[in-house]
């Protein structure tokens, strides 16, 4: 099923926000590629830069307050250097986005049908009748039972799951090559989440688009991703195919995260707590291993001076060398009761 056609290549991307005339990189030297027919999940906790990465790709950041360096190559063009007009021709047509909160992503004063039609008007040469037909077809495709009625309704008349389906219909309206989904199911109940995830998989099988899925939920990743990139403090610290990452996680951060999930299968085990807190953007350690302060029991020599991604098995990359020496603190009888921040 998988081919090696590369859709998008990100090379050494830096996205910095301006705070008091200094730029701080929220995304720091990220390189990634997205292939056709692939669901690439980007995982991390709040503040790790995963959403900034997504908005950098699609060019939604305010250029007066941010600085984007590096390359985002799509069809041999660098999205990072495009003007707003050029981007408008790409957004919605080639690359589209699904947002977390469907209610605030929809216009409350516009009928559903008209909102879906908007990008068709902008990007295609369809006639009015053809557009109407396409709107109904799209609503049908995302599993809405009564497309004619829903097309005439307003967003507030729909449930959360239905709204997210409408957002997906808008995103796929021009058959984009790349779909960026930023926490698409976080605001939804689990049963609705399952339906939306299944819908995304089905749509991808039909269209062959590449999907970048931004999420904090490792369960969602396990359910639909093909490849996973884990982010911490603006950097990618581990990339691997999904089976490999879940069966054989290597980086201390990835392993710590897995151990803090209240596992559905295990009972009464203590959850792992990662010591310390995620450093804020202005206090990021820009040198050395960024995770070192949170695994202070691992000796300094274990870390690289300039941690880079190492390929340890085909397609599995890990940053820094500290994973070779990592063990959980509790494994050596360390204190369980660590609450101090």
């Amino acid at each position: 099923m998988k081919t090696t056609d590369e859709l998008l290549r990100i090379k050494n991307l830096h996205t910095g926000f301006r705070i008091k005339d200094t730029y701080f990189d929220a995304v720091d030297n990220v390189s990634l590629s997205l292939r056709k027919n692939e669901i690439l999940a980007i995982v991390g906790e709040s503040g790790c830069g995963k959403s900034t990465l997504a908005t950098s790709i699609i060019g939604l950041l305010d250029r007066n307050k941010t600085r984007i360096q590096g390359e985002i190559l799509y069809k041999n063009k660098n999205l990072a250097e495009m003007t707003e007009e050029e981007l408008n021709d790409v957004r919605g047509l080639d690359i589209s986005m699904i947002f977390q909160d469907p209610l605030s992503a929809l216009n409350p004063l516009m009928r559903i049908g008209d909102q879906i039609e908007e990008s068709l008007i902008y990007h295609t040469k369809l006639t009015k009748e053809q557009r109407k037909e396409r709107v109904l077809e799209l609503l049908n495709q995302v599993g809405i039972n009564n497309p004619e009625r829903v097309a005439r309704q307003f967003p507030h008349q729909l449930s959360g799951g239905m709204r997210q389906r409408v957002i997906i219909a808008i995103a796929i309206s021009c058959k984009p090559q790349i779909i960026i989904a930023d926490e698409p199911t976080t605001a939804l109940d689990v049963t609705i989440q399952a339906q939306i995830l299944d819908l995304l998989i089905d749509l991808q099988n039909e269209t062959g688009a590449g999907i970048i899925l931004i999420t904090h939920d490792l369960g969602v990743v396990a359910e639909i991703a093909d490849r996973v990139a884990v982010m911490y403090a603006g950097e990618i610290i581990e990339v691997a195919p999904v089976e490999e990452l879940f069966s054989n996680p290597k980086h201390p951060y990835t392993r710590s995260l897995f151990n803090s999930i209240p596992q559905m299968s295990q009972e009464n085990t203590r959850l792992n707590v990662i010591e310390g807190i995620v450093p804020s953007l202005t206090n990021l350690p820009r040198e050395g291993c960024r995770f070192s302060s949170r695994i202070s029991w691992i000796p300094e020599e274990a870390h690289e001076d300039n941690p880079t991604l190492h390929e340890i098995s085909p397609g599995h990359f890990v940053r820094c060398t500290c994973w070779k020496h990592f063990h959980f603190k509790s494994d050596i009888g360390g204190s369980h009761h660590v609450y101090a921040d």
Binding site: T191, G219, H337, Y339
Partner: protein, 314 residues
């Protein structure tokens, strides 16, 4: 029995029409019964709008009970819980989902923590200060935290302050309404570990309200699944997970993503099966008004909502 809820109902009036009269009721909680034993954790699970938060709020007295009884240590406290100084109010406390909006932004931590102490315990200023230091130590915060304001803390720290306030009066029951759903995974782990520790130490009883079955399974011995203001299934955690009876429970369980990519294609197929089954049997599982049936026993501790006709078969 330490505490008991008997046929609790919370109905909201819907007003409209001429003279703005009451024309209908929303049955937010529609006849639920629970029994609590000391030192155990009880989970209340359901999707948004099922009435799980209303249940929690009505037990503590933030919501008016339409009918039903709350019996606490052999005493009917249904109406007493609204009287400010009652022992029931001291013994039962709540942890909120969003601890940021649950704390007065203009008050320092020491005043936030002192509020329940001043309300329920008559301590001298020195004793009060000592108690506040104690509380901060229990939740693992430095003493200088008491001069700070809520906004100066991170999400996990604020949630711990919320817990410190809840345990200030040595309560016996804590109602935790989605205490970790706003937190990141590693911070969530910290708060959950901590809630377990203080439970073991002080013999607390928890009513743990959450939409996250993984968290509830980790924390609770007993789970009730709620739908449209009623229980569809209630039983020990093991029974619910290993032998779910109600189609709604099955649907909920099949929808939870497993933290392993192995077997996900089969899981998807299973999910679709359960969903079609659910759509087909929806009418059989609920009565003609769409109301959940009364509970019938499966085992001594495991109950499921079933129609009276099926009950005969069992």
């Amino acid at each position: 029995m330490f505490m008991q809820i008997d046929n609790l109902k919370v109905h909201y009036p819907v007003r409209g029409g001429f003279f703005n009269r009451v024309i209908d009721h929303v049955h937010a909680v529609d006849g639920i019964s629970m029994e609590f034993e000391k030192g155990k954790a009880y989970g209340l699970v359901g999707e948004s709008g099922c009435g799980k938060s209303t249940t929690g709020k009505s037990i503590i007295g933030l919501e008016k009970i339409t009918s039903g009884k709350i019996i606490y240590e052999g005493e009917d406290v249904t109406n007493k819980r609204r009287d400010r100084k009652s022992a029931y109010n001291r013994d039962i406390q709540m942890i909120f989902q969003d601890s940021h909006s649950a704390m007065n932004p203009r008050k320092r931590v020491q005043d936030i923590l002192a509020e329940p102490i001043r309300n329920f315990l008559s301590l001298s200023p020195q004793e009060e200060r000592k108690r506040i230091n104690e509380l901060l130590a229990i939740v693992g915060m430095p003493e200088d935290a008491k001069l700070k304001y809520p906004h100066e803390f991170s999400g996990g720290q604020k949630q711990r302050l919320g817990i410190a306030r809840a345990i200030a009066t040595n309560p016996k029951v804590i109602i935790a309404d989605e205490p970790v759903s706003a937190l990141d995974l590693s911070v969530q782990a910290q708060v959950l570990n901590f809630m377990k520790d203080i439970q073991n130490e002080y013999g607390l009883t928890y009513l743990f309200i959450s939409h996250d079955l993984g968290v509830v399974k980790h924390m609770c011995e007993h789970i009730s699944i709620m739908y449209k203001g009623r229980f569809v299934e209630t039983g020990n955690t093991k029974e619910i997970f290993e032998n779910p009876q109600h189609i709604y429970t099955k649907r909920l369980l099949s929808a939870i993503p497993e933290v392993s990519p192995i077997g996900r294609i089969e899981r998807k197929r299973e999910r679709v099966n359960v969903e079609t089954h659910y759509q087909k049997e929806h009418n059989l599982s609920f009565d003609e008004k769409g109301r959940v049936f009364d509970l019938v026993p499966v085992t001594e501790t495991h109950f499921v909502a079933a129609s009276p006709t099926i009950k005969e078969v069992i």
